[in-house]
C-alpha cells in the first residue's frame, strides 16, 4: 500500500502503475567501468548490443565527474519522457544506476539500500572475486524483491 506523505520527511513513493512494477533496469559498475550486474525487468526497446549499452551507461556515470574540487557529485538523476535514470556513486567507485518509470520519486535512498545489499551479499562473500560479474543468486533474488517493492 502506498502512502503519499505530505509533511513526512521521506522520499515520495512512486506513482503506482497497474502492474505495480516501475523499475525497468538496474546496472552496477565498479571503478574500472566493468559492469558487475545488469538486471532487466521491463525493457521495451533493444537498440544497442550489450557492449555499447554498458559503455553508454558508464559514460552517464562520468557526467557526474566534472565539478568544482571540494564539492560532492551533484548529479543524481535525470528524467525524459519515457524513463528516469537515477545514479549513485560511492567513494570506492561503485556506480549504481536505476532506470525507472518517469514519474518515480527520489530514489537516492533506494540506491543506498541497494548498495547495502551489495555489501552484504556480494562483498562479504569470500568466494566472490572483486571486479568480476556478480553471480550471487541470493543478491539477485533479494534485489528483485526489493525493487518490486519500491515500485
Amino acid at each position: 500500500m502506498q502512502f503519499f506523505g505530505g509533511s513526512e520527511i521521506s522520499p515520495s513513493p512512486p506513482a503506482p502503475t497497474v502492474s505495480g512494477n516501475n523499475a525497468h533496469m538496474v546496472y552496477v559498475f565498479n571503478r574500472n567501468g566493468v559492469c558487475l550486474l545488469y538486471r532487466e525487468w521491463n525493457r521495451p526497446l533493444h537498440t544497442l548490443n550489450a557492449q555499447q549499452d554498458h559503455k553508454l551507461i558508464a559514460e552517464r556515470g562520468n557526467l557526474g565527474v566534472p565539478q568544482l574540487p571540494g564539492q560532492g557529485c551533484s548529479f543524481h538523476s535525470f528524467r525524459t519522457n519515457t524513463y528516469k535514470l537515477s545514479f549513485m556513486e560511492t567513494p570506492s567507485g561503485i556506480k549504481i544506476i536505476l532506470v525507472t518509470h518517469p514519474r518515480t520519486g527520489d530514489l537516492r535512498d533506494s540506491l543506498k539500500y541497494i548498495y547495502n545489499l551489495y555489501v552484504d551479499y556480494v562483498m562479504k562473500n569470500p568466494l566472490y572475486r572483486p571486479g568480476s560479474p556478480i553471480r550471487s543468486d541470493l543478491f539477485i533474488t533479494t534485489l528483485d524483491q526489493y525493487v518490486r517493492s519500491i515500485a
Binding site: G33, G72, P91, S92, G93, R108, K112, M123, K124
Partner: protein, 209 residues
Amino acid sequence: MPPAGPRSGDAIFASVERVNAELFTLTYGATVRQLLTDLEEVEEVNKQLDQMGYNIGIRLIDEFLAKSNVSRCVDFKETAEVIAKVGFKMFLGIAATVTNWDADGTCCSIILDDNPLVDFVELPDTCQGLYYCNILSGVIRGALEMCLGRDIAPYLKIVTDTQYLAFTKVSMKTEVTWLRDVLRGDDAYELQVKLLKQVPEEYPYKDDE
C-alpha cells in the same frame, strides 16, 4: 529529501551485530599461531598478515562506506580523521586519535587507546620480530587503495572533448607501519600512515563514440 549525513562511529557500532570479543581475539590468535607454524619465519608471517589485511581492506571499504555515509574526503587529513574516529570505532570499538602530522600533510600517526586483538597475548622470545597486529596495517592500506580520493592538480589539465580524464579521482597508495607496539615493550599502539602517491584513475572508455 537531502541524503542523510555521515553517522558517528558510536552510533554504527551500536547498531551492527557484534561478535563475542573473546571469540574474536582467540580466533585471531589461532590464525597467527597457525601462520607461525606454517611459515616459521617471523618476517614471512608479518608479510602474510599484511596481505590478509589487504584482502580484508578492499572489501571492508564498501561496508564502511555503506554504513557510515561519509562522502568523499577533501584531503588526506580528513581521511585519516575518518579512519580513526569512525572506522576503528565502528569495526573494533576502539577510540583512536590522529597526531604527528608532517609538514606536507601526507604522513600521520594513529594511536589506538586499546586493542582487542592482543588481549591475553604475550610474545615469546622466539617471536621477537613479529608485528602481531599487522593485519590492521594491511586493512588500512587495502581500504585506502580502493577508495577514490581527490586531487586538485590534475583538474588543471586541459580536457579535450574526445577524452574524459577522471581528473578528480585518485587512488591512494599508502604505506602503513607500526611505530610503537605494546607487545614489543612500548607504551602504546601507534600506526604510521604515509601517503605514498596518488594515482589518477583512468577512465576506461577513451574513444568518442
